[in-house]
Symmetry: C2
Subunit: 171 residues, 2 copies
């Protein structure tokens, strides 16, 4: 990895989030299957569709700007996906696991919000005008996905209150 | 790791962010030294002080609620810290590296925003009333740190425009 110009930095960040999105497309079906609340499962499924669309937007940016993505693996997303695997392994299916999956998914969304926020700023600075609206669309989708997860969490996983099951587990 | 109740989940998440904050206190002095803009270096230094305060808040929560933190290593923060090391290794000191450090630091802030947001929600749900204001204070600090970084980035790293150096590097 040699970053010598702001264009190189943009390409590096774009390659990193591309890797992150690809890892996420593989993780989301597992998260949907691991959810007990149909509302949460559906949120993961619809975010998978969105994520596929976000990958396509990156492909469009690459095409429009005539770039070549680097083959890098986003280490942070790897850690986040590992954490979601741990959650599934260590908590039985139910409202409590749903609550933990939501916290994990919000960390993923925030990673992406920060990445796309940075990419938007870099694209504006460079003058990559064709990339800006595509990146902004994805940034808005990620912010909405985060809000949707908050609202599902506030409804106790969209099913029953996670706290009830949790308190049951204590006795 | 066995998570059987919502209290266990809270403790797990608190232990995870404690590990993340500890990793960050070790990384921030390096980030400050690696910055060329005095404004950015100062932002990292003052965030180090804040982070130390946030660790103390976690200690207070542990004491008030009579908890015992688990020894876990936050894998996501490990990935984020590794990425910042890569930035330092691959970009010479200057406005471009500053721009990259800001993007990396915003990913860290967003990780923390998501974590503390989740912890606040869990604490409210459980009725850990003494923890809520402490977690909310930290959450607000993290949001402000993110905004401060955005404002430094918009001023081109608080020194000169990263784009200028970047464009210079191209020719």
């Amino acid at each position: 990895m040699a970053i010598k110009s702001i264009e190189d930095l943009f390409l590096h960040e774009l390659s990193d989030i591309y890797s992150a999105e690809k890892q996420l497309t593989r993780a989301l079906p597992r998260l949907a299957r691991a959810s007990s609340s149909p509302k949460l499962a559906q949120a993961f499924e619809s975010h998978l569709e969105e994520t596929n669309g976000q990958v396509e937007r990156i492909d469009k940016i690459v095409e429009k700007l005539d770039l070549k993505l680097k083959r890098i693996k986003c280490a942070a997303m790897e850690g986040l996906v590992d954490e979601s695997r741990e959650i599934i392994d260590s908590i039985e299916k139910g409202a409590l696991r749903d609550a933990a999956l939501i916290v994990g998914a919000q960390k993923v969304e925030h990673y992406e919000i920060a990445s796309y926020g940075g990419l938007c700023a870099l694209a504006r600075q460079i003058g990559y005008d064709e990339a800006v609206p595509l990146l902004t669309d994805t940034l808005e989708e990620e912010k909405n996905a985060d809000k949707k997860l908050t609202s599902i969490a506030e409804q106790g996983g969209g099913n029953e209150r996670a706290g009830e099951e949790g308190e049951g587990g204590k006795g």
